[in-house]
Symmetry: C2
Subunit: 298 residues, 2 copies
């Protein structure tokens, strides 16, 4: 006899129903076990109109405070640079005991922006579901986006056990694998596995674009597999990535610094023909690749 | 009534039946229009044994000179660092009028290695089929590897029209799209579209691997899509890439220099919060991505 799952929350408000937010709404709609009632809020009337057309929520509104007043959980899915401003609108309106959570790709800066606005009766659970595609907006969401993907949780000292547990259950029901870590550790790990690769991809596309007109045309025509993979990464949303770079500045600049040292060392090895160094570096890439395949992530 | 295609060559010798060489052999076997008779030669007895097991050629031998003496076309498919040494073995044995060609990923250095060994009665056509996978060796070849991929030709002043035309026809029958350019231009274009992306992918894997043990384990566990694409590139053959880096040193170091300047500029923009610069760089990546899709290369 299958166990009947009680919804985690009565009313769930998703603020910013873009790629991530609308994926949560789609999952919630499809399963019925995340919340009994769904509200989507966005400051853009055009986004709200589209979310209504897609029928992703029971209520869709541009009035963030009015929506927050009804919710048992408020999930902030806006770009990390907008988190503080949006939190300032919703937190004062929230019901006592309702849970605040966010899905920002950087954690230290988002927590710094939100912490001064927190109320003692509103527990806050910072999260980062590591999922995405190169598309954005409410049309881009997918019910299965989070399946088998990591969702990182960076609870604070003030985060209550009950709130953490409810957010854990919500993401488990989205199909995600969970891991907890501190906010600074999160930012360093994500700087190397996600933010730096995107920075390099954007940069090499710009470098290619700066070449003379004749060469540029051939760069496009002749794009080998290497460049194709870079441009796949580089197709992501500009404002989201601008914010991630700026709001994870410290960790990202540290990882970029390490990378630049390593790239300079590789350049030196190539210039002086240090074959052992070059092969060692290449083989490390293969070893990581092998581990990824064993971890079913590739 | 279908036109019967006469094979381009009577006897084709592939020296180095790895990923590229064995793909040519598979195509030749499947179509029958590249050559009437196929010979594979490799200095490794183990590789020869495997090629025999796979039945990729009519004759398989470790005796390069004896094989070359029978061939109407000798195609060198060895790593670019081995081209000169292999050419020195085969050229003196070749029949007068037979065509020499190579498939090396760098052209200036390969031509420099081969040119002093050339005979007036042996026309030479340098080529570079831009195709590959992350696998290597005779088992990795694919009959359709070259379909819709570019094959670049960098003919010399001494290359005869007849030899160029026969090599063009051979690659057209492999399904490739052809383009001619000078060897130095080839090396610069490939440095930016292929060699530099691979160098960056190898380097970021090394950078990640250098992080502390705890963080490294999470790099593997948490690899986001960005890092996955890098490691896919980084899984290629170490010796082949070592040679490409060393033998396209000048163009690669120039492109890496440009890239490092751009990465430093991006780092500076992030440090000082120059949003317009960051967004401009991100949007160039998207524009190139769009062009690639329109060119059916992505």
């Amino acid at each position: 006899m299958a166990e009947v799952q009680v919804p985690v929350f009565d009313t769930l408000l998703v603020v910013g129903p873009g790629l991530i937010g609308s994926s949560v709404l789609r999952r919630a709609r499809a399963r019925g076990t995340l919340a009994r009632r769904l509200i989507a809020a966005d400051s853009s009337a055009a986004v709200c109109a589209r979310v209504r057309e897609l029928d992703l929520a029971d209520e869709v509104t541009t009035d963030l405070a009015a929506a927050a007043a009804q919710a048992d959980c408020v999930m902030l899915c806006v770009p990390v640079g907008a988190m503080g401003e949006v939190a300032a609108q919703v937190i004062p309106a929230m019901k006592s005991g309702a849970v605040l959570t966010d899905v920002g790709s950087t954690k230290v800066s988002v927590i710094e922006a939100i912490a001064p606005l927190l109320r003692a009766d509103v527990p806050y659970v910072p999260t980062h579901p590591m999922a995405g595609t190169e598309f954005s907006g409410p049309d881009a969401g997918l019910e299965h986006l989070f399946e088998d993907r990591w969702c990182l949780l960076t609870p604070l000292e003030s985060t209550t056990e009950a709130a953490l547990e409810s957010i854990r259950t919500l993401w488990e029901r989205c199909g995600a694998r969970l891991r907890e870590m501190t906010p600074p550790h999160h930012d360093r790990v994500c700087a190397i596995v996600s933010h730096l690769p995107h920075l390099l991809a954007f940069t090499i596309c710009g470098t290619a674009d700066d070449l003379a007109a004749e060469t540029r045309s051939e760069v496009l025509d002749l794009a080998a597999s290497g460049f194709r993979d870079f441009t796949r990464i580089a197709a992501s949303d500009p404002v989201m990535w601008r914010d991630i770079f700026l709001f994870n500045r410290e960790a990202l600049l540290e990882m970029l610094g390490r990378f630049m040292e390593d790239a300079q060392a590789m350049a030196r090895a190539i210039r002086w023909g240090d074959e052992a160094y070059i092969v060692d570096r290449i083989e490390r890439g293969r070893a990581i690749r092998k581990s990824l395949i064993e971890n079913r992530q590739a």
